[in-house]
Structures are given as C-alpha cells and as structure tokens.
Subunit: 410 residues, 2 copies
Amino acid sequence: MASEFLTSVTVQEALAKIDSIVFEPGQEFAGLDSAGGRILAEDILSAESIPGFARSLVDGYAVVAKDIQGARETSPAFLKMSGEVRIGEPAGAIVREGSCVRVSTGSMVPEGADAIVMQEYVRAMDDEVEVTRPVHKGENIVYAGEDISAGATVMRKGKKIGPFDLGVLAAIGAGRIRVFKRPEIALLSSGDEIVPVDEKPPFGKIRDINRHTVAGLVRSAGSRVEFAGLARDTIEDITEKLSSAAGYDMILISGGSSKGERDHITDSIVKLGGEVIFHGINIKPGKPTIFGRVFDKPIFGLPGHPVSCAMVTVRFVVPLLKRMAGKTPELPVVFAGILTTNVPSSYGIEEYVRVKVSKKEDAYLVEPVFAKSAVISSLSAAHGYIIVPEGVEGLEKDERVEVHPFEENV
Amino acid sequence: MASEFLTSVTVQEALAKIDSIVFEPGQEFAGLDSAGGRILAEDILSAESIPGFARSLVDGYAVVAKDIQGARETSPAFLKMSGEVRIGEPAGAIVREGSCVRVSTGSMVPEGADAIVMQEYVRAMDDEVEVTRPVHKGENIVYAGEDISAGATVMRKGKKIGPFDLGVLAAIGAGRIRVFKRPEIALLSSGDEIVPVDEKPPFGKIRDINRHTVAGLVRSAGSRVEFAGLARDTIEDITEKLSSAAGYDMILISGGSSKGERDHITDSIVKLGGEVIFHGINIKPGKPTIFGRVFDKPIFGLPGHPVSCAMVTVRFVVPLLKRMAGKTPELPVVFAGILTTNVPSSYGIEEYVRVKVSKKEDAYLVEPVFAKSAVISSLSAAHGYIIVPEGVEGLEKDERVEVHPFEENV
C-alpha cells in the first residue's frame, strides 16, 4: 500500500514518536517480601537517623582517645575498667578520662567515649586494662546518622527495588511501600500460516514462535502479558481480536510478514478508529514494523519473522514498556569487545547484528552470528547484539564495539 | 575461640570447600507460559526440521534462477505465470523452466523453484511477468532444516530459559519441558540487638536489615526463601531455630557480629551434630563468615554488619545457589572501566570495594564508594563492586578495572 512508503521513518523518528506516548501507571502497596524487582512509586524519606545511636564496629573497649595517645607494646597505657555495654541494650556505663568500658561489635558506644580500641590490643586484668596501641578519634565507631540522616531522601521514585534497597527500606522501618502497578499488555498473533505450539503444523504452516518470545521479553521488562488470541488473516478477525484487547494498556500484534497481512493490520487499526503513526522503520531486521494508537492506547504491529519480531521488541517495545512501568532509565550494561570479523551493512539503515561473546585473556571477542531473519535458533545462541549505525556501511574486523547483552540470555 | 583462628581460610580455599558441596536438584514440568527464567533439566532435541519446508523470505515470484540470469531493466527476462502459493497452504503449483509462481513472505516455495525474486523487480502482466534483475540460487529462501535440523540438540541442560529460548522451544513444539525445582532456602536472623522491621527499635537495638537484603539476593539467584525466625543470642534459641529449618536445602543465618555471638552459632552447629568447615575468610568486608554442614545440608553463618553480610552473600552464597539450582555457569557480565581514585588495600586480603559507574565519552569511570561495613546505604547507591586481589596492596587511579555489576542494581 502507498501508506507504507508514506509513513516509513528513521530510527530517531521512530523513537521520538514512541517517546511521545504519555502513560501514568497506577500505584499499589507492597511489603518487603514482595517488593523486590518492583518500581518505587514514591520518594522514600527517612524519618529516623540510621543508626539511631553510635555503634561499635568491633569487639573491644570504649575509650577517650587522648588517654591512650602514644600507647605501645613496650609502654602500654593503663585504664580503669568501669563496666560493659551488652549488645542490644542501652549503654548504662559512662567513660570518663582514665577509664574504659567493654563493648561488643554492634553495641552502643557509651557516653564519654570517642573511640573503640580492638580487644586484640588490650590485656584485661581485674579492674584495669593495659592498652598497647593508640586509636584516633572516632576509630571503630559508626555514629548516629552516619548511614542515613533523619529527613534524608534515601531512594527516588522510579528506582527498581533491588536486594540492597530492601535492606535500606528495612533499616528505616519502611515495611510497606508504594510501587507502580505493572502495565497490562495484550499480545496477539496473526497469520493464516500460524498454528499453536501444541499442534503439529501441516505442510505450509508453522508454530506460533513470536507469541512466546515476545511474552518472555514483556515479562522480563516487568509487565504482565495476556495472550488475546491468534487471528486469521482477515480484517474481520483481526478487528474482533483487537476489540477484545481494548482494556489493556498496550497491544502487541505479531505477524503480518507479507504485505497483504500488514495491510490488514493497518486497515483494522483505522477501522477501529485508531491511527497508524508509522509503518516501516529503516532498520534491519525489522523494517515492516507498525506503530499506532487504537482505543487511545499504543499498538505495535511486529514483523512476522521471529528474529525481526524479537529485535524490534528489544529495541523499540521494551524501552516503552519500562517507561510505562514507571522505571527511571538505568545505566545500560554493555560489554566493550573486539570484532572477530568484518560486518557488512547498508548505508541509511540501522542494523542489529546478533553476536556471541567469548573471553580471551583481558579482551572480549565479539563474533557475529550471521543468519536469516527467520532463523530463531540464531537468537537463542547469541549473547547480545551490536548496532551498526545508519551512517556507516559496516564495521571492520578488530574494531572496538559495544555489545548490548540480551538481559535474560547471559 | 581458638577454632576461629584454626579454621580461617583464603578465598581460594573457601571457594574450593564450597565447590565440594554436591547437590542434585529435583525436577518438575513447566509450560512455556511459566518456563521463562527457569533452568532446563534436560537436553532438548528437535524431532523435526525447522522450518519444515522451504519458505519464501519476501513477497515475490518463485523462479528457476538461471532463467533470469542477466535480466536488467533495459533487457528484462519474461516468465510465464503458472499460479500462486498462498501463505499457510501447501504449494500446489510447480515451477518449470521459463515459468514462475507468485509467493508471499512465509509461504511455501513451490517444487522446481530455486530462488525468489522480490516483487519490486517484477512487472506483472496478464499471464506473464517481466523480471528486471537476476537472483542467485537460493536467494530469499530459508530451506527446510536451515534453522534447526531434525535430531539436533537445540538447548542444553543447565541453561536459564530466556525469551529467545522460549521461541526455539515453541518452534519445535516443545510446549512442556523439564526444569529443575528451585532450591528451598531457610533464612534466619540472630542477635539480641535485632528487632523486626515493623518495630521501632529501642535504644541499643536496630531493625533486621540482613533478612531483607539476603532474601532479595536469594530470590534473584532463582531460589525460594522462607524466613525461619529471629533467634535470640543463646545456644538454646539458635539450636531450636536451626532445628526448625532442618528440611530445607540450605540454611543461612545472619548476625553474629561479635565473637560471642559467632561462637554461639558454631557451637549450635556442633551441638546439632553438624560440622564447622571454616570460620573466617581472608576478605574485607566479611571476614567472620562461617561455613559448615548441619542436617547434612550446607549452612552459612553470615556476618552481622549489613554490607559484610551482603557482599559475602554475593561472592560466596549466590554462586552456590546458582549451582544448586542446576544452572551452568554463565559468561559474567562485567564493565571494564577506569578508576577515578587510588584504592588502598591490605596485602593478603581479598577486598571488595563498592563502586559507582558513570559514562564519559567512550569510557566508564569507576568511582569507589568508601563507607564502613555497617553502612547499608552505600550498597544501595553502588552499581557493582571491584575486587582488589589478595596479592596486591591496592589499586591506582587511572588503572583499568573490571566491575562486577550488582545484577539487580543496574
């Protein structure tokens, strides 16, 4: 159709159109046992200082540092023992000049003390100790508020809650926190040649690969996904299946490898009162990608070839899903490595080349997995992909490249 | 206790002891909608060739390549139209010399054809077409078995099933696969100074941070974790809580910052008929780590300081958990980056330094987060850690280092 050529866009244009989608995820509460991996929906402030009191970092003796200045093995300092602070209990004892109090790791530092000397450097006698090393002021103490000060913002809205964040939330007593609801994504397959996985495909047909690849990627990005059906290649059936997915936050429909099928998807979007924003991106693989709006929600028409479908999902759908999940963009984890061979590419197209990575001494070797875009096993074997930008005609052997790892593949 | 010094080990010794643990995880079945992230418990062989028939990669015309050798815009080749193959249907038509058959992307390649010419290079007339470009043999065709050949092993036992693996499993009709059961881990906290997260700690006490950090790390490593209680610092209570965890695949008990507490944990292991394999590793932070066996299961006594506890879990517990989950070790994802400052360290100790990573032009800058080992907020802010090996006394500014990212923190 003419529309395909009219609305074909560059990668930058495609990303700009996708970035213009506005979505405000809902919120819900989560306890710490279920908050891992969720996205924080509020800034977290600490009402308390952490720790709430000065704590000893070692087993030893709380002292006044200047009392033991210059203490050595051959000329120890003598201090009067004036008690003990038991772990988990308030410090009753007080350290005055010339005296010390026994403490354990984690116990409260008694009033008057400004350092802890480790027990290894102390010989304890009846009511006196001999100290054989000096300490500097503050040594082996973590002061009240040194970890987190009262009123401080400890975590920002949009952070994915990792194990260490759970620890921080526990420290400040934030046992129930506000997180974003996971976006709900409807996934459809289309095409007369597609049969479900549990059927043996008759001659001319193939199993529904994209349903499972895309569902896996959507789940990895933190969304929920519901399979909304396998549409025959008619406007009627596609329209009906799309209608059943109207309540979701986004619709993904894979298939439409051939021009006729793609036209049925764009025609169905228009018939339902939606809009095709672009149809075709200057990329390889994945050119015949459709993006639009229907039921006032974003919709992607993903290419039918499994590799094309997967790469378009990784490159264009997953970033939108993460944003819809409320996540602040993170530092991308990339390997820097050395290409083992030339990679030819066409000028004017952004190309995604699947690669395997191996380690040789200090360097990562990056080996392209060349395969046709229908070959799904090439993806399963790849550790990640490299991008050959639009403006170059290929990459050369021994060039340094950045590998984007497939998150769930390494 | 004397035992602490007798059984303190180097990192290599500790890893060797941990590696000697033998564990054979159970197996269960999973469907493709729930298999993502699970570990494959069987080699997967394909009974079929994928694709099962030669498919066209484009919309166009199936031809005999030598019929259109030398075809050009100014001197096109003429071919007789002898039918069409519709997508999803068996190819009825046959291509003989001098003829062609219309095909769509994904449709079956008809008998006799050895290449597909794209429709862009064809002018169709009534019962004849004009071809304006040659094709090479095999062009635009993916042959039967080209993706996966019948009998081939497509995936190995021990692989973590990612989205693309789901696609491969779907392609070959493996809709129900054998995966390893997740290890079941019991997690205990100990210490008289520890209160649950929902309590306001009185003076001298702190909230249970390690429970949540460790649980998050264990879940990220693919295991289930059950909290088995908060033990007071007595041999009786620790022994009782450990006994209640006898049915699990591994026990983790955090706490025991002070020597008295650590002795209670080792004494309890021995009292229950278990064995302390080592007590103390030459690392920083995390030295007072206990490893042993009880109820014939591995047990770790993790340090009480939150950062020490977390780092020991990352460095020593998580690799064992992944192995117990049946996972084949993967290529580690590491950033290579440039240190922004000197990192002092002690000879003879393997030191873990938390770092933040930022990008500056082509390079990653690696900035150490210096903080005491009781300071949990330093971990939450770090992207990963670097290792200062035993045999060096520190690292220098501008040195190239490998950053191990905290998986859930980037």
